[in-house]
Homo-oligomer: 198 residues x 4
Amino acid sequence: MADVVREPKQKRSIEKKERIIKAGYDLFAEKGYFCTNTAEIAKAAGVSTGIVYGYFHDKRDILLEALDIYIHAVFTPILALLDDVTELDFEKIIPLAIDRGVQAHRDNKEMHNTLHSLSTQDELVLERFSELEQEVTQTLSKKLVALGYPSLHLYEKVHTAISFVQSFAHEEVYDHHDYIDYDEMRRLVTVALIDLFR
Amino acid sequence: MADVVREPKQKRSIEKKERIIKAGYDLFAEKGYFCTNTAEIAKAAGVSTGIVYGYFHDKRDILLEALDIYIHAVFTPILALLDDVTELDFEKIIPLAIDRGVQAHRDNKEMHNTLHSLSTQDELVLERFSELEQEVTQTLSKKLVALGYPSLHLYEKVHTAISFVQSFAHEEVYDHHDYIDYDEMRRLVTVALIDLFR
Amino acid sequence: MADVVREPKQKRSIEKKERIIKAGYDLFAEKGYFCTNTAEIAKAAGVSTGIVYGYFHDKRDILLEALDIYIHAVFTPILALLDDVTELDFEKIIPLAIDRGVQAHRDNKEMHNTLHSLSTQDELVLERFSELEQEVTQTLSKKLVALGYPSLHLYEKVHTAISFVQSFAHEEVYDHHDYIDYDEMRRLVTVALIDLFR
Amino acid sequence: MADVVREPKQKRSIEKKERIIKAGYDLFAEKGYFCTNTAEIAKAAGVSTGIVYGYFHDKRDILLEALDIYIHAVFTPILALLDDVTELDFEKIIPLAIDRGVQAHRDNKEMHNTLHSLSTQDELVLERFSELEQEVTQTLSKKLVALGYPSLHLYEKVHTAISFVQSFAHEEVYDHHDYIDYDEMRRLVTVALIDLFR
DNA sequence: CATGAATGAGTTTTCATTCAT
DNA sequence: AATGAATGAAAACTCATTCAT
């Protein structure tokens, strides 16, 4: 009935809302969205089940907020990638980019999976992911152009690079395979990316 | 307490089991594992809900069998990739590989997502995915060696190549972004992969 | 998800569905719609909570079916009122009508209240009540005309009569007041109704 | 365990309490007792949810106070009915009584329904209704006697009259039926009531 | 083997009431 | 007195799994 959600203004409330998001984030990451229930989230956040619905419309709403956290955590370092760069030395930039990508993935791999899988079933999740990729691609492209890189097919290059980095990060972070030497793989990816921008 | 699952010998039973797997496959792909219920699967398969438990231990068991179907569908064409190749002309092989990868992804993208997301939560799903990647990497590597390609760091090259192809396939199949020219991106990926094996 | 409701064909199922409606009827009548929960209905019907949703969309759906029962129980005897009448002797007909009305009310007074109050909040309940009143009015009018009664303002007369009978029935059934002699009141109502049709 | 309810002495408090009752009245009338929650009442009254429990024991307590308002609103004009009458001309009195009854019903029809339905479930509501009917019947009867009307079966006549008026008021106010000419129906009721007192 | 009705534990969500501030 | 965040019990409804037929 009361389809109203508190927009907390006071510090204590804001902290509480954030505790709930954090608890949701961790549980969704650990067990997936569908295997996590609101009672668990409330318990993990140290609040009652009722108050969860004071801050969020429903469980999905918690996910959407967790998505924002995730996006912030993962993409902030990547967007900042070229901030300290003054000259276009891809031999230096690429390894740094890979490090950042791997680190971001390492810190958030479970959530990544949870969100990625939901993106098939949830318009909004998909949309936000999409917007984000666009923002990253365009921001990095703009910075490269500002540093003097030619703009021909740049979006495609950057997008491909991001895609390769993510793909490698995923491999390394999960580290499934005994028969793969990940250092060597990293070298191959590095070379491929340097060639891409040559 | 018949925790026993029939191993169907007769043709009619085998067909029935396969219909259930197919129905499960389609529904899991369309709506995800958790948003599909067993009654729907049974209905789609044209059987009663009860009999599902005559062929499968539980819902997850259907998923596991669907996983096998998926694996077969996706990886058979990829494993067969080098079967008709007699000389190592990567300028020809790579575009073919990309086509196959994109096609496989296109045909099974929803199931890919469903399974991928479950792999975080389900040991066995993860394990089978892992085994499969290993098999593909090693089979393709073996074929390349047989065709005269040097074996140094070959697993890493092949694995990286697979990873890049999948990554591109995903991009192209989902086709999120207006600002990306996917033909150009395909060209970039093709060049990168040719360089990888040069 | 499965928004499907079984339409029971077999005798056992039909009996079960009727048991649920009966249990709902009794509980709604006794405690009102909002103070009755589905678990209670299930328990009273001797079934599990789950199966209730096999036969009914939701709690309101049980109410709607109970409404049909109510309508049948209350209005069947009233509709049949003039069936055995061959001549228009209101001195005989009116007392009979009052008896029937009081009896119907007596048998179903709680449900009457429950439904009546919901009619304000539920379109469909209101609609069915309305239809019913219309049917009763028109059926009785038609019978009177067939017996030779003039049709001028007949609907209004019949509707007024019904309304008076219900009103008296309510009074007598509840029997609130010590200071009222209900036999005398019945006499007054009888006279008023006879005069109405004179 | 402050189960104590403030009896407000100061003007501001009294106003606040009245605002809550008014808000409760309106919401109960509009949506029914069970579909109205205390937060809504508080909001509509412009107070906090907490303070509601400073003035009322519980939600039902608000209803009971709203009942008093209702009773006052509905029955005051009816009780005053014969105040200006000096001679017993029922041809004049009856139409006036019907007008008053219809008007009272029109102004409070939703609350009437809400309260009426609760009277089955709530002793106190039933009791107050009963007391009220008694008061109205007895007050009007006394006035009639003072004007020279014979007291034989007077309570029954008055009670019947009230009951008929209410019944007609309900019909006219809801105005369900296209096939009914309510002006004609009013005429019939008027005649019946005049005859009742003849 | 097959059916599909039945079970009941589990899930999301609401809301009257309390309580820290 | 007043606030409105917080509580937690209770409600509606779902669904994997079982079982009588």
